[in-house]
Amino acid sequence: MDQAVMIDTRHPLETPEGTDLSLYPAGFWVRSLAYTIDWLIRVAVVVATGFLFSASGIGQGMTLVVYFLMEWFYPVYFELCHNGQTIGKKALHLKVINDDGTPVTFAASLIRNLLRTVDFLPVFYISAIIASLCNRDFKRLGDLAAGTLVVYTNPIKPSPAIDNVGVRPVPEGFSTDEQRVLVAFAQRSATMSGARQAELANIIAPLVAPGDPVVAIKQMANHIVGRRADSP
């Protein structure tokens, strides 16, 4: 369990209601993909403005103002008015929040987006990449100063049903964590090939012999979640 905590990127946060929020900070790779999408959109908007207003006398001034707004305020606008998500972040299921789990504020959003200048140095956001690899929450310099966090917005996955193959009591000596592993195996078995299921289940074959360990695990999982032998 300790090892799982070490390798997990989960950022736990205790709320006033006495439960832990689980936030999953996003690393620089997925964030740079989101940035690339946003960058393409910004370029497209500036080019389109330049093109549309090229005929009129104020075209150049207009394009520069739009360029200015796109460079500095595009992310601020989306982070404040669209739930912490620029278009690129939305496409990749990311969002910006304050590091206390509340929606990002104007000051924080402006800080992190102005300090982007320094994150970019010397080229291609190298400072941001180095900074984000040096802390647990993948914060770039702007995030550190603003106190913000870029997290995944995982959509809810429906809980898969466990195959109704009967129930079987769990042998003595299984800890609660081990029981949880059994349930997780049964619920995820649909995403694994039969051979892989058999391979994994074989680890506990001696404990449930005789019989197919895959079926045995599903039966025990049914027992753990409380399914009755006679229930449909």
Binding site: T19, L21, L64, T102, P103, T117, G147, T176, R180, V183
Partner: protein
């Protein structure tokens, strides 16, 4: 309690919360009675979430409750963003008060800017070649052409399209410079110090150079109007940047990250003011400074008045009335 019994008993509660969340996330305003209900549902789901974790129910159930708790937390602890009233209060009181409160950083920034400005101005007057230590010769030639009274590029009232074009340019260029001056303060203050010093030296050298070649009227009538807002704003942006650098160098009892976080939330408020001042400066620069209908003495008079307005505003606005 087994997981399936738990789900049977309590699923309606979290389903109700989820239904409300979906509506709230679409931007629907909650009715007053609903608020209390939402808070109560949220507390219950938090309780279930903690229970599910503690009892080691399956990770799918815990993840589902987790997702609901995070989303509800974000709805419940959402902050309001009123705009106009705080903006007015910021302009009249908070900004000048903040500038005075941060006067140490502001004075250092002013020194780093004005020092090289005066130094290079005087040096260029004494030895004209000094100008070329900071300006490239072709840049100098461009400046000369721009302010040559014979060319009058800035002269006879430009048409309004050009004015708007220049306005766009000033917004883009000047505010970007200010933002960079602020942001580079994160490099332990060195970046802000560099931008302040370099821009000060540049302006000093240009002024000295144009004075040497005798284009004083065109140059000074042009810059005197917006200089008050623009130069002050650059100094304040530099001060905000120096504050970031200082918070990293001297964090006191705090960790460096915490110290930076606190300093940047103060410094960013200086930047709000800088943005407003530079927008005003861009207006003046595009529509007044370039306008040559007025006589030079009129432009100097207005320029001086604007300097008094800016400095008087920063020094006196928002002071508490003393109770005698």
């Amino acid at each position: 309690m087994k997981q399936s019994t738990f789900e049977q008993l309590h699923a309606p509660v979290w389903q109700a919360l989820e239904a409300k969340l979906i509506l709230l996330e679409k931007g629907q305003k909650p009715q007053s009675g609903e608020l209390r209900e939402f808070a109560s549902l949220f507390r219950k789901v938090c309780h279930f979430h903690a229970l599910a974790q503690e009892r080691h129910y399956s990770s799918f159930l815990v993840d589902h409750l987790d997702n609901l708790v995070v989303r509800a937390h974000q709805q419940l602890y959402r902050r309001k963003h009123p705009i106009w009233q705080p903006l007015l209060q910021f302009i009249v009181r908070d900004f000048p008060v903040l500038v005075r409160q941060e006067r140490q950083a502001v004075l250092w920034a002013a020194l780093l800017f004005v020092g090289p400005l005066l130094g290079f101005f005087v040096a260029t007057l004494v030895n004209p070649d000094m100008a070329y230590t900071v300006i490239a010769p072709d840049q100098a030639a461009q400046m000369e052409a721009m302010y040559d009274p014979a060319n009058r590029v800035l002269g006879a009232a430009r048409d309004s399209d050009t004015n708007w074009g220049m306005f766009g340019f000033y917004i883009y260029n000047n505010i970007s410079v200010a933002f960079r001056t602020f942001a580079s303060g994160l490099l332990l203050g060195v970046g802000s110090g560099f931008f302040l010093t370099f821009n000060g030296a540049l302006i000093g050298a240009v002024a000295g150079h144009l004075t040497n070649v005798g284009f004083t009227t065109t140059f000074y009538t042009f810059i005197v109007g917006h200089g008050s807002f623009e130069l002050t704003a650059i100094v304040l942006a530099g001060a905000a940047g120096l504050k970031l650098g200082y918070s990293l160098l001297v964090p006191g009892q705090l960790t460096r990250v915490e110290s930076l976080k606190r300093a940047s939330h103060v410094a960013i408020r200086l930047v709000y003011g800088v943005i407003l001042m530079l927008v005003i400066a861009a207006f003046i620069e595009a529509f007044w400074s370039s306008n040559n209908i007025f006589a030079p003495w009129q432009k100097y008079l207005v320029g001086a008045a604007l300097w008094l307005v800016v400095l008087g505003y920063l020094i006196f606005s928002g002071r508490e009335r003393s109770h005698s």
